[in-house]
Amino acid sequence: MDQILEVRGLDKSYAGFALRGVSFSLPRGYIMGLIGPNGAGKTTIIRLLLGLARPDGGEIRALGLDISTNGAIVRSRIGFVHEAPSFYLHLTVAGLASIVARFYPHWDATVFRRLASEFQLPLGKRVYALSRGMRTKLALALALSHDAELLVLDEPTSGLDPVFRRELLERLAAYIQDGNRSVLFSTQITSDLERVADYITFIQGGQLVFSTTRDEVKDRWGLVKGGLELLDEGRRFFRGIETSAFSFTAVTDDVEAARRRFAGREVVVERASLEDLMFYLSRARAGAATGEGEGSPPGRGRDS
Amino acid sequence: MTDYALEVTGLCKSYRGFALRDVSFRLPRGYIMGLIGPNGAGKTTVIKLIMNLVRRHSGEVKVFGLDNRAAGREIRSRIGFVYDFPCFHEDASLDDHRRVIAPFYPRWSEEAFERLLREFELPRDKKFKALSHGMQTKFALVLALSHDADLLVLDEPTAGLDPVFRRELLQRLSALLQDEGKSVLFSTHITTDLERVADFVTFIRNGEIAFSLPKDHLLETWGIVRGDERAVAALDGETRKGLRRSPYGVEVLTSNVDEARRRSGPGVVVDRPSLEDIMVLMTGEGNRAR
């Protein structure tokens, strides 16, 4: 199974933020969801992938090519949708398409016209008159009209109503049907991920927490809740711990081991939705981040 | 008579191919109302009319019992607003915005502003345009929550925010209501947020109010009937709120789930709808072949 996208040891630092050693890979024919709290680095990764910024360290290989040397060739087979798509506002939809068409070797005008009619995008309408949802549809139509093998979408569903969100996710699922194309999309709405994503990559504070298949996240990751005295025993397989006065809630990436370890004790080990995982991992991170050591009560001291 | 934080009656507005027709709903004081609807249904227009940023053709908006045109100033000093469209001076820093906006609000609290700025981890001296979309929304929330507003009008406050912060924001909003009797009107596309905190839900669809009901009542009395064409035909039209054909059969949204259970024959499944299901069924064209 060849990898359409490989990211190895990615480093990038700005004032007050740093991406450290992020590595993940996306096989051909699958959808990967990229999730993480605001400012975790999702958009930075996408900007590095599209060549908008240069990494300080590490390597990104897309479609078998290293993007630092042949970025243009790679981008000719990537379809992108930015978070708030930026277009020339005073041009019409058709005018904008004719400009973008000139850059893509495999541009197909009939595909664009078909998508425009399916998305109810009037070709004669000026871009400034389009609402936010319509601009995302326009960006998607542009991305799907040049035979792209990899779609890179930065929060495409934010600001879209549930009806169109479902439509968009169905279209992404259809896009990877032939097993030759893949999608990487970042989102804050975890229910979208649970509907279509095959792989899930969780970035937090510039570091990779996990990058596995959705089923593995569902089966192996969970929450362990118990009394404080049991905390040290399970520390080995806890990836994030949040404690309060008497009890702790910990995120674990090996639910079976935790169950075996705490069998018979009054410890609750349960499956967790993505949102719950993110909730506790961020809270635990907040605790750790303020330097009070792992497992200390978070800054706000409110037990969940 | 219960006193209402917000009363909108008979609001009409039309311009370039879009029209609000006779929009009416009421938000009692001390509750949260969710405003949902597809893109372009008119949610932002309703909010702009409440804040009197846009002229209306007819209709009346009363906030805290005062007409929002006559007593605009008094009302706006007690409203906290967050807009979905950009409206901040991008080349000015966050502190500049505070220094400029604070004097307008009689009940502005510097201490609340500082605390929220710290909690939301916002850089005070950075230019507004240097912030990410999520952080910009957080700053708008900080301004809205810093002057002890009695009514919060939020247009998609959670768009672009991560689930962790969203959950905390919703907890903060519901905490706000318990003790001080404030009210919140917020429009959103993330229906799971609404299911968590909203007391009332108003659904607006191409310029008209489809319904404005208490959330619990809505989720208890409405139901989705899934089955084949014949079984669905048994339900009479009045309670049918939405229909969607799919390869597996027909899904009908009904406003009276008990009656639907009684009247539906075998081979029909009746279950509880989520807000998203309600939206999808009421927005999709009647017979959109999939």
């Binding site: - | 706006r76 469209f85 950009p86 991008e90 004097p103």
Partner: protein, 228 residues
Amino acid sequence: MLGNLIRLDLLLGRRVLALNGFLFTFWFAFFLWMGGPDVSVGGYIVLTSVMSVFLPVTVIVREGKFNAAALTCSLPVSRREIVRARYGLSIGLGSCLMVVAITVGLLCPWSHLAVAKLVAPKALLLALSMIVLEVALLLPFLFRFGWIGIIVLLIVLQLLGIVALTLTRLLGHGTAFGLGIKALANALRSLYANLGDPIFVAVWAAVLVLVTFASCALSTWLYGRRRV
């Protein structure tokens, strides 16, 4: 409340103010240098007043760029107060820049302007009148159309000027147009001459106040209807 609004525009637009202020001052000096000896005090004042009014306009127009008008209108202020504050700001800023223009006229080594005439009350009154008239003319366009309105107004005025010039040249000076232009030029000259005696000044001041209030009312009506 007006003070807060003026402070809002000044504080948020301070960078634009500084940059444009510097550029305008440089432009005054450059104009004097290009003009050389044949620049009259009246001409200098009229031209610099036209430029000075554009400083407040650039500060106010900034809001359109970020469509921050929605923010200002959502604050607990009425649109009437916003319009009044902007008029005050425009006249104030315009007058300050006129003072700068006059000092540039005095201090510039290559300026040939008669110092006595430049600082005479007549000149100062002419400067103030020009500022007030231009503000009264420009601001309704600014409130109704935003920065596009100003550009459209500029193009229209320029075209009118050119049409008048070419017509007078082609049709000769005797025709209606020739007289029209000459009348306008004479009116300005006579205004400048009459500013000396106090009675005329009193009447003229009343006219200016009336014009400002009329323009302010018009702007309030226009801005009230504007979709922010």
